[in-house]
């Protein structure tokens, strides 16, 4: 006899997300090259970009060591881009599983987001380890704020990902548009430069972008001497809330019909 537990709605959600998350980890870590690449690639990028940027300003960028300046930008932008694409592809990837009535597309998106979150934690730990071994000193003046910005950006990415994932079920071309739209984010989010490098009258071209806010805020929280110019916490948090609200509203409205298309 196999007894089946009587579960309430929340317990079902919890079990399903856990099962999907365990599955993501199981399948994700199957691909050992892919997982090590997830750690190695940003490190290589950080080294190369820090080297180039270091040529321009002698190892220190607005009072932050250039390596750490770039590392913040790199980790945050990659968290954004990869969480977004993982969230967007989760619905299609797990389509066969919606045959189980307990599995909803949202749980697949959440599980994929959680997996990306864990991978990024590994990346951060890898970079911290490298910093320790090359003997570079690093300041973290306000670590709690940095965690808040990281989580906020993650949630923002997942919400946008959910919107893209839903839209792609109705219009397949959205996937192409998504890559087209996310590609330039790497260049306009302040990974390589700071908002301060630009004259103030052109800031409006860049500071609509919440990712830029998250990156600059994180740098400021680690090194208060960096200064806080042209970005604000409330802008980042409100963007996240708006994106999350919009994503959940669209999800609630469309998911039942979306999975039978």
């Amino acid at each position: 006899m196999t007894t089946v537990l009587k579960r309430n709605k929340w317990e079902i959600w919890r079990d399903v997300i856990f099962a999907l998350f365990a599955r993501e980890i199981r399948v994700g870590f199957n691909d050992k090259f892919g997982i090590s690449w997830a750690v190695v690639q940003p490190v290589v990028f950080i080294f190369v970009l820090a080297f180039i940027r270091g040529r321009l300003d002698s190892g220190e960028t607005h009072t932050i060591p250039t390596f750490i300046f770039i590392a913040f930008g790199m980790i945050l932008i990659q968290s954004f881009l990869q969480t977004l694409s993982a969230g967007a592809s989760a619905i299609k990837k797990n389509r066969a599983l919606f045959a189980f009535r307990q599995v909803q597309p949202l749980s697949a998106v959440i599980a994929a987001g959680m997996f990306e979150f864990i991978v990024k934690l590994f990346v951060v730990m890898g970079i911290a380890l490298i910093l320790y071994f090359i003997g570079m000193e690093m300041k973290l003046a306000d670590p709690l704020s940095i965690i808040l910005y990281f989580v906020s950006l993650w949630l923002f990415a997942l919400s946008v990902g959910l919107l893209f994932g839903l839209a792609a079920l109705y219009i397949p071309e959205v996937e192409k548009v998504q890559t087209l739209m996310t590609r330039p984010m790497f260049f306009i989010s302040g990974v390589f430069f700071s908002l301060k490098d630009f004259p103030e009258e052109y800031w409006y071209l860049l500071n609509w972008n919440p990712i830029l806010h998250a990156i600059e805020l994180a740098r400021f929280s680690a090194y208060p001497s960096y200064g806080l110019d042209g970005v604000s916490v409330s802008y980042l948090l409100i963007s996240t809330l708006v994106a999350l609200f919009l994503a959940l509203v669209c999800y609630q409205g469309f998911w039942k019909q979306a999975i039978s298309r």
Binding site: T2, V16, L97, S260
Partner: protein, 216 residues
């Protein structure tokens, strides 16, 4: 008993909405092992998926107080890269099985995969996958099992075993089955629902249902 109330279901296509059911009211009676008969494209699988809750009607509701399995098809929810055991645990977790280890044992015993149970599903032969899928569902005590051509794939001894397992559970459980193989349907079912042009008709006697279906 499963009650379909005012169900409308359509799919989108370039030619507009393709209606499968329009304002359908129907009661699928309990206590019968039912074969669903219908031509290709009549909506057998759609009906199946609606009952299972894998898809939702565009209008109307489906009411039932029975615990219904997922539509057990050739490899529903089975991941190619995971082993049989891992797949079993995944399905068990989703369905809220209390004791996963006991469930695992039960599935292992039923599927008779031997050591293949601990190998990735992609290494399985085509007959082994449906055996795993079927074992995963029969090892959970549902009131209604929805079975989509799975039993037709296994060899004779597996089919016998499947039949015996369903027969043992027939006091509490029933099957609803889709298959094009009349011999198989005769083995498992006692009554039929014939689907044609968006309408359902229930026949208490399977043979009568088959006769009407073949006359269509």
């Amino acid at each position: 008993m499963i009650l379909l109330e005012n169900i409308t279901k359509y799919y989108h296509s370039v030619l507009g909405h393709q209606y499968i059911f329009q304002n359908l009211n129907f009661e699928i009676p309990g206590g019968h092992n039912i074969a669903i008969l219908g031509a290709n494209g009549a909506g057998k699988s759609t009906l199946f998926r609606l009952i299972a809750g894998s898809e939702y009607p565009n209008k109307g509701t489906i009411i039932s107080d029975l615990s219904i399995s997922w539509p057990v098809a050739l490899a529903t929810g089975i991941h190619q890269q995971m082993t049989g055991r891992e797949n079993t645990r995944f399905i068990g977790r989703i369905n809220g099985v209390a004791d996963l280890d006991a469930y695992e044992k039960r599935v292992k015993g039923f599927a008779e995969l031997g050591q293949h149970y601990d190998l990735p599903v992609k290494t399985y032969s085509s007959g082994m996958r449906p055996r795993l899928a079927f074992a995963c569902s029969i090892a959970i005590d549902f009131d209604v099992y929805l079975i989509d051509e799975v039993t037709s794939v296994g060899d004779a001894s597996f089919r016998r075993k499947a039949k015996k397992a369903l027969f043992e559970r027939s006091e509490q459980a029933n099957v609803i089955m889709v298959s094009h193989d009349m011999k198989e349907l005769r083995q498992f079912c006692d009554s039929a629902i014939v689907l044609s042009k968006g309408n359902l008709t229930f026949y208490n006697d399977l043979e009568e249902g088959i006769k009407h279906y073949q006359a269509l």
